[in-house]
């Protein structure tokens, strides 16, 4: 018996979240004494790297039908592989693609599904994991069924672990058993250099910045840090920034290693989307701003003074 992991890629390169999912699956496979199988379309570059994160076997699928991401097709590739190799656990990273695929896999295999997992199971009588609930305002401890289970793991929740493994690669041809009725018309890539949902560092600004014209220093800071940019809801509502940057309860949820919040008050709905970031730096003129209670580091000060100083300090530290 085995654990199956879906290896997601973008522009033919595996994503970091894929390596996290494999590291997780390999550790779970070791705990349960199972084999760790990884599956993906055949096109992807650098398949060998999957064994470095713990893949015991890599099953690739050759098919024109998999060239464009369609949730039903990818799900079919996964559930057919799971059925053929008696995989009683399927692990998928909780990206947009993962969220679309995982429920289909669970429905077709008639497995249970647990989403939003942020840690490795603890072992009591049963395996128990933590999942976020109430939009990051609380956590739930969830019992995992022993088998027949699909799990989605929140990106940036699990350490990457390099292994010595030498996973074998097996290539299959894939033909979908159904007509796919979805047609992709156009893909619009987001402008930012680093996609917000995958960024390890995020520089975010709020209404304290006063106007759209003041974002050049935010972008410069983000560039120096290799960070993505984000904003509070009023900022995107006023169209100072695109909606795709809006984080919070009604926006995107992120969990970067470092979140720098500039001129953002820290309303509960904002914190719901960013509060589980691993390190939070807050810059705000108001020392009573609620965000300081959720911050690790802070500067009580004017963004227009502090941000240029940060840029200067970074340039000095890099030269």
């Amino acid at each position: 018996m085995s654990i199956l992991v879906f290896a997601e890629s973008q522009n033919n390169k595996f994503k970091k979240s894929t390596f996290e999912a494999i590291s997780y699956a390999k550790d779970l496979a070791t705990l349960l004494d199972l084999e760790c199988i990884v599956t993906c379309p055949a096109e992807t570059e650098n398949l060998e790297i999957l064994s470095q994160y713990g893949a015991d076997k890599i099953i690739t699928h050759q098919s024109d039908e998999l060239r464009i991401f369609t949730p039903t097709r990818y799900a079919e590739m996964i559930y057919k592989t799971a059925a053929a190799h008696t995989c009683k656990h399927v692990i998928i990273s909780q990206t947009y693609a993962g969220k679309a695929i995982a429920p289909i896999v669970a429905a077709k295999l008639n497995y249970a599904i647990v989403t939003g997992i942020i840690d490795f199971p603890t072992q009591e009588e049963e395996l128990v994991v933590t999942k976020t609930v109430f939009s990051n305002k609380a956590y739930a401890k969830v019992h995992l069924p022993k088998e027949n289970l699909v799990m989605t793991i929140v990106p940036n929740s699990y350490e990457l672990k390099q292994q010595k493994g030498q996973g074998s690669i097996v290539n299959h041809t894939f033909t979908s058993s159904s007509h796919v009725l979805t047609k992709s018309i156009e893909i619009m890539k987001s402008k930012g250099k680093v996609p917000l949902t995958e960024a390890e560092i995020v520089v975010s600004a709020g209404r304290g910045l006063k106007g759209a014209e003041n974002w050049s220093m935010i972008e410069e800071l983000a560039d120096l840090l290799g960070a993505a940019t984000a904003c509070s809801k009023p900022v995107s509502d006023m169209e100072w920034r695109p909606h795709s940057e809006h984080v919070g309860q009604t926006g995107i949820t992120i969990k970067p290693d470092l979140y720098i919040a500039i001129g953002i008050s820290g309303a509960i709905q904002h914190l719901a989307g960013v509060g589980s970031s691993k390190n939070i730096v807050v810059i705000n003129t108001d020392k009573e701003a609620p965000f300081f209670k959720a911050a690790d580091y802070g500067i009580v000060g004017d963004a227009f003074e502090v941000v240029p100083k940060m840029i200067e300090a970074l340039k000095n530290s890099q030269s």
Binding site: T95, I104, Y139, S244, V282, A295, S317
Partner: protein, 245 residues
């Protein structure tokens, strides 16, 4: 055209989350319940489509009768009728199976849901319903229209957005920005009182929860403050102590 909207009911976004009974139960006392914000978007979109394409909008909710006033709100917004599957849902698969069982008895051209419920954040019910019914589903859609038997929509994908067409019958779940939520007017509220709200018994599915207990986030340690002329020190801590870049 027949549209089915799956609607969940959740605590208001400003609710302070607390638990009782050894952290096993969510404290509902004093909590204000609302239509899940993403479902509100799905519903508003369905109503817009019904005005444009002369569609009939059915709202379905799996839950107890304490939620009837909130279902009436959906009717006041403009849905034509409502179905309540009478059960306290404990897991998303149960909810999805019940909705799929109901949908099988009718023929819906379009099934809309929210991207996720803001209480349990499972983000699965809409996808599961579609999978049980063998429909194609577009997750996280920010634009949606119907054109000549096709659902045309834009969905968020990793690193961008995708425009796609799906042959109907189809299914989609709402992401923020899909539409401005509709606000019920006086006439809508009056009409809602007499619109049909059918209560049906759950049909087949097993309804077991898997939550053992809850935890609140641990309080953060006191923030470490730096003066405005210590910016370089902060950068040094982030870079050299924390190794964040």
């Amino acid at each position: 055209m027949e549209i089915l909207v799956c609607m969940s009911v959740v605590p208001d976004t400003t609710t302070k989350i607390t638990f009782s009974d050894n952290n096993k139960t969510f404290n509902k006392t004093g909590v204000q319940y609302i239509i899940n914000p993403y479902c509100e978007l799905a519903l508003s979109k369905a109503i817009e489509l019904s005005e444009k394409h002369n569609a009939n909008v059915t709202v379905i909710h799996v839950g107890g009768n304490q939620n009837d006033p909130i279902i009436r709100k959906a009717l006041a917004m403009g849905a034509h009728q409502a179905i309540r599957v009478d059960a306290e849902p404990k897991d998303g698969q149960f909810v999805a199976r019940e909705i799929a069982e109901y949908a099988k008895t009718k023929s819906f051209d379009l099934i809309l849901s929210g991207r996720e419920s803001i209480d349990f954040n499972s983000g699965m019910v809409g996808n599961l319903v579609a999978a049980y019914l063998d429909l194609e589903h577009a997750n996280v859609v920010t634009e949606l229209d119907v054109d000549d038997n096709n659902l045309i929509c834009i969905r968020d994908i990793d690193g961008g957005r995708e425009k796609l067409a799906i042959k109907m019958p189809a299914s989609a779940s709402a992401q923020k920005d899909l539409i401005e939520p509709k606000i019920p007017n006086m006439r809508g509220i009056m009409q809602a009182r007499t619109k049909p709200l059918h209560v049906i018994a759950p049909s087949v599915a097993e309804n077991v929860g898997n939550i053992q207990n809850y935890e609140l986030p641990k309080g953060k340690q006191e923030v470490k403050l730096f003066d405005t002329d210590e910016v370089a020190n902060l950068i040094d801590v982030l870079k050299n102590d924390k190794k964040l870049f």
